[in-house]
């Protein structure tokens, strides 16, 4: 063993897919770019958003798909069925479309209890009623025991545009406000605690919910939303980083304004997570003109999904492409893209 000050080179390229490739972080991006987009890229994929916007017979529609592999399949505040419906509904809603039709593909592991499957399907039914969408097609496949993990669900969705709307990070400008409809980090922490069997005195529940009603309340009164995203995997920090980068603007957050449930704060403190990076399943980030801030927050607060809505930051002209945060102690720091840390299979 030598005494030099040294450290060896790591492996940068992996010849097998690793769990980290699914983290939503930089390794995922590498997988998309090097393996998927390199083959499949076209004008629709180019505009990476939660949904593709396509035109068919003169009608502009939003089209999206997502797969759900959450473990455990039942967690406080929801289950894989509810998640599969609301996740896809939200991806449609945040591009400004009215979610209308969804598909459901089930990959079921041999041995799943029929009662659990029934519970999940019922939950899909209830979720579709709540989100006002119809499940119009589907598929089931069964794989051998130990070749899956109880159940995976894929949902695709179609949304109709019933108004002219332009949601784009390019529209974010100096002075715009950044608003969120409530507590951050609940979904990721709820799933994590359930999986690890950790209990707190008061329960932390997933925020899993359909955002289309809340969003249409805001759009209906004619508010010009510049940019909108649901903050799922990678959390609020990752979404804001993407907005800052693609809009080429700076974003400044105010730590003291971040709505975080006390129990989530404590859980994060104990486990070493930053709530800014923890997944949500019912949170929308809206960027709009500062003069609309009060209206948006007050409409949100009237809705059951917006009771803890808050202005959490602003768009600034400095530091284009970078998210910074004014900390509780008055200093400023960078809020980077998610990396290293990950909570696998939270959705």
């Amino acid at each position: 063993m030598n005494n030099e000050l040294s450290c060896p080179l790591p492996m940068n390229e992996y010849d097998k897919v690793l769990l980290a490739h699914g983290s939503g972080g930089t390794l995922s991006n590498k997988l998309y770019n090097d393996v998927i987009f390199s083959e499949l890229m076209n004008e629709y994929l180019y505009d990476i958003h939660d949904s593709a916007i396509v035109t068919s017979g003169g009608q502009k529609i939003a089209f999206t798909t997502d797969s759900y592999v959450v473990k455990p399949i039942f967690f406080p505040g929801g289950d894989i069925g509810k998640l599969a419906v609301f996740g896809t509904v939200n991806d449609l809603a945040v591009v400004g479309a009215k979610p209308s039709f969804i598909s459901c593909g089930f990959i079921i592991e041999e041995g799943l209890l029929m009662s659990e499957l029934k519970k999940i399907v019922h939950s899909i039914f209830e979720a579709s009623l709540k989100a006002n969408v119809k499940v119009v097609t589907g598929d089931t496949k069964v794989v051998e025991k130990s070749k899956g993990d109880k159940i995976y669900i894929n949902t695709s969705g179609i949304g109709i545009f019933d108004r002219e709307i332009l949601i784009s990070p390019k529209r974010c400008k100096d002075g715009d406000v950044i608003i969120i409809n409530g507590y951050i980090g609940n979904h990721g922490i709820a799933v994590m605690l359930e999986r690890e069997g950790i209990t707190f005195e008061s329960k932390i529940e997933s925020d899993c919910a359909p955002l289309n009603d809340l969003i249409s309340n805001i759009l209906n009164i004619g508010i010009d939303v510049h940019m909108m995203r649901d903050a799922t995997r990678g959390g609020v920090a990752s979404v804001l980083n993407e907005i800052a980068k693609s809009g080429n603007v700076g974003i400044l957050l105010y730590e003291e304004n971040l709505p975080i449930q006390e129990e989530v704060k404590s859980a994060c403190e104990i486990m070493g997570f930053d709530p800014l990076y923890v997944a949500n399943e019912g949170k929308v980030i809206i960027v709009a003109d500062a003069s609309d801030a009060d209206k948006i927050v007050s409409i949100m607060k009237q809705h059951e999904l917006g009771k803890n809505a808050a202005v959490i930051g602003e768009v600034i002209s400095n530091n284009a492409g970078v998210v910074t945060m004014k900390t509780v102690i008055g200093t400023t720091r960078i809020v980077d893209m998610i990396s290293g840390e990950q909570l696998p299979r939270i959705c």
């Binding site: 000050l5 040294s6 290293g340």
Partner: protein, 368 residues
């Protein structure tokens, strides 16, 4: 959050800042030993609150960063055994050994599980009786009692399938090495509060005296660190060099007596190689002969191979000794990032490079 937010109080921060400005006259280098403290410093921008004549050096207190490559190789070799479940803290999975990391071993079929405590590994041993469970025990004195306790528990439960791969290291010998190194210009040390919560601070009294440096046992919240720095600077300006305890709400002089008993019961102090720092005499913990039934190195005889691939590619060793700052590295933010770490300090969330990567404000950015 009670008992945490009090230590992030803006008014208290302001008072400490003013006190520091009024106290620090000369130029001083203060080293925080623990990676957790480095993380707080970067996360809260503590550097911005210090007068320009105070410079913080980041110490070697990141357990993932200093775990030698030979132990990672050993963990991988053990994990590749058919009948083994290797339980490890998540951070360890992405640090490369001589050829690859534990994450790749997992991709190649090894059963590697992330756990949060050695007791989770004990549970695995109870659940999978037909498998051998090996817990990769890394860390400083802080985690040693829990890992020792796991060995004692395994014995009490008569588990025949639980083993510890002990890569534990001890802080004071590393501090002596740093203080002897004339490239480091350390004027004062903030000792790691959690290490001292177990060990107390009696062993630091000799170090403070021998090397003429104030040593302040310091906590991990922003006001802890500011107060620790203030206590150090007060001593420096007066020419005093002694051990003081800032982290009084957790640390007592004699430490955790029960915890120390467990360490002494289960482990021997041995020479140990630190990644980036070389062999440091009497700086590691190895499982005692008496408990060799639980020693992974006894169960899986391995040869610690000379690491021939030790190319000088990054400045991790100098970063770990506080000689250089992460941004002085040619690879920082370029080839080296948390996704593609070149050196261990970029892998662990406690590593100085990762803390700088996440929170360091590039000079090109502007702030109000």
């Amino acid at each position: 959050m009670k008992y945490v937010e009090e230590y992030r109080d803006p008014e208290l921060v302001r008072k400490l800042r003013v006190a520091l400005q009024n106290t620090a006259e000369k130029k001083w280098n203060v080293m925080e030993v623990c990676g957790g403290q480095t993380h707080t410093i970067m996360k809260y921008g503590i550097n911005d609150l210090l007068p320009p004549n105070l410079n913080l050096l980041h110490g070697p207190g990141c357990p993932v960063c200093v775990t030698p490559i030979e132990y990672i190789d050993a963990a991988i070799e053990i994990a590749m055994n058919e009948n083994v479940i290797l339980a490890s803290y998540g951070d360890m999975l992405r640090v490369r050994g001589s050829n690859f990391d534990l994450l790749s071993a997992k991709g190649n079929g090894a059963d590697v599980r992330i756990v949060y405590s050695p007791l989770d590994a004990i549970k695995l041993a109870q659940k999978y009786k037909e498998k051998n469970i090996v817990f990769f025990a890394i860390g400083f004195e802080t985690t040693a009692p829990a890992n020792g306790q796991a060995v004692l528990l395994a014995k009490r439960l008569e588990l025949k399938n639980f083993f510890l791969l002990s890569a534990h290291v001890l802080v004071p010998p590393a501090l002596r090495l740093l203080l002897r190194d004339n490239r480091t210009k350390i004027n004062a040390i903030l000792a790691a509060g959690h290490v001292c919560s177990v060990m107390g601070y009696e062993e630091y009294i000799d170090i403070a005296e021998e090397f003429g440096v104030p040593i302040i046992v310091t906590g991990f919240e922003p006001t802890d660190i500011l107060e620790g720095i203030l206590m150090a600077v007060k001593q420096l300006e007066k020419g005093i060099t002694r051990v003081e305890n800032q982290y009084r709400r957790v640390v007592v002089k004699e430490g955790n007596i029960e915890g120390k008993k467990i360490i002494n019961q289960v482990f021997n102090v041995v020479d140990r190689a630190w990644r980036g720092m070389g062999i440091i005499p009497q700086s590691g913990l190895e499982i005692k002969e008496e408990y060799s039934d639980y020693n992974a190195l006894e169960k899986f005889p391995l040869t610690f191979k000379e690491n021939i691939n030790n190319k000088l590619v990054c400045i991790a060793g100098e970063v770990l000794r506080g000689i250089k700052k992460p941004f002085e590295c040619l690879y920082f933010r370029k080839e080296c990032s948390p996704e593609h770490p070149i050196g261990a300090p970029m892998v662990s969330s406690e590593g100085a490079c990762a803390a700088y990567y996440h929170y360091y404000k590039n000079k090109t950015l502007t702030y109000e």
